[in-house]
Subunit: 266 residues, 2 copies
Amino acid sequence: MCTERTPRVAAARALTRRAGREKAGRFLAEGAQAVREALAHGRVHDVFATAAAAERHPDLLATASAAGVRVSEVTDKAADGLSETVSPQGLVAVCDLLDVPLETALAGSPALVAVLVGIADPGNAGTVTRVADAAGADAVVFAGDTVDPHNGKCVRASTGSVFHLPVARTRDVAAALAACRAAGLSPVAAHGYADADIHSSARHGGDLRRPTAWVFGNEAHGLDEATIAACDTALRIPIYGAAESLNLGTAAALCLYESARARAME
Amino acid sequence: MCTERTPRVAAARALTRRAGREKAGRFLAEGAQAVREALAHGRVHDVFATAAAAERHPDLLATASAAGVRVSEVTDKAADGLSETVSPQGLVAVCDLLDVPLETALAGSPALVAVLVGIADPGNAGTVTRVADAAGADAVVFAGDTVDPHNGKCVRASTGSVFHLPVARTRDVAAALAACRAAGLSPVAAHGYADADIHSSARHGGDLRRPTAWVFGNEAHGLDEATIAACDTALRIPIYGAAESLNLGTAAALCLYESARARAME
């Protein structure tokens, strides 16, 4: 039985902080769904489970053991220390970081990519990753000072999608947009004050069937002028009622699915 | 200066619970945005503000006073007791309940309505209300054992939209669907396992331009079979990638905007 003082547990605990993740090159996938996805798609070093979690998910632990992953029982207190959520699930996997170089993520003629610029809330970043995955995107780029895709709340909100498609990180937003262009993608800014909206654009022959990199900005402040100017065009979500705006997750869903829709209708 | 023991504050505190709201016929709108919307669209009895909040929002308090609303300064502790959120904003309005009878909400040939069945999370219910407002819906119906639209987290997540369009409540889901039909709306179930999806439907001439009541189910369990059977059709969101599903807010946004899109393209 491992406690919070067991060296491997103490080392894993450091992965709840970004600096600890960067140093170790590893992160934590918490909860049955994330652990399942990690075992299917990621490189997993350790699985820690409380007695209760082990009883609930014998299949998962068997899968891990069969794959040569070390499975260790931990105390409730040790499990709490490995959790980044309000209600710890008692089950966590230690995985290699997922992100790949920008050029790798954008290799192979991508048709749809989401670029996140300055997204502050890890739950939002995870939701956009999930939506991008659902819409059939080929990659997600975490650009500028966007949160870490390996943040526990981001992994959780993505419900496994961080494992499904290539994720790249770069501090340099201009470099991200340049890489998108080099990969044949047209960068389109999702911008609440754009003149054109995704429906009027479709009505007037705007072509979201072409390879598109949707660029999404900070929840509160949106995209800065330089980033908008660096895109080929800017589009907003049309508001047909009295709402002032939409939240980032729903706005990103409508943008990415408008592209998916255009391609599906071909 | 009012404290938590001042009778009006104590009475307002009872409104943080559903039973208290039902008994008094009133609810709390918390935070500057919600208070502004309440003053613009609702019937407000009291505004309580801490000294700090009064200093931040003199315009709002002036608007309230000019409208004959009683404005009272409260202690931080009293304000905390009136808050349903983790970070109390020190500003709250006591308002009359917003919901109207089902027939009133559906009066006047509605073209787009959202029906929420068994939505458990108030944040989700608020997000769907916000999205329905943005998509130009004519009303939102809280049906079955869906959370109370006046729950503080729902009001907050709606970012004012609960004040923008008629909200009705009924425990009786069959009655809600019957009322939709009587109002000329075709009930369409949003159902993750439906045969047709919103894009294939559009490709094959499915007509979301006709007046539609989108019916959304519980976050975890979706809609029950009886409710799906009581709708004219069921549609899902197409998943183009590896994601298993979408969350309720993004799924509702895609459904409601598919209807808004069909009407905008006419």
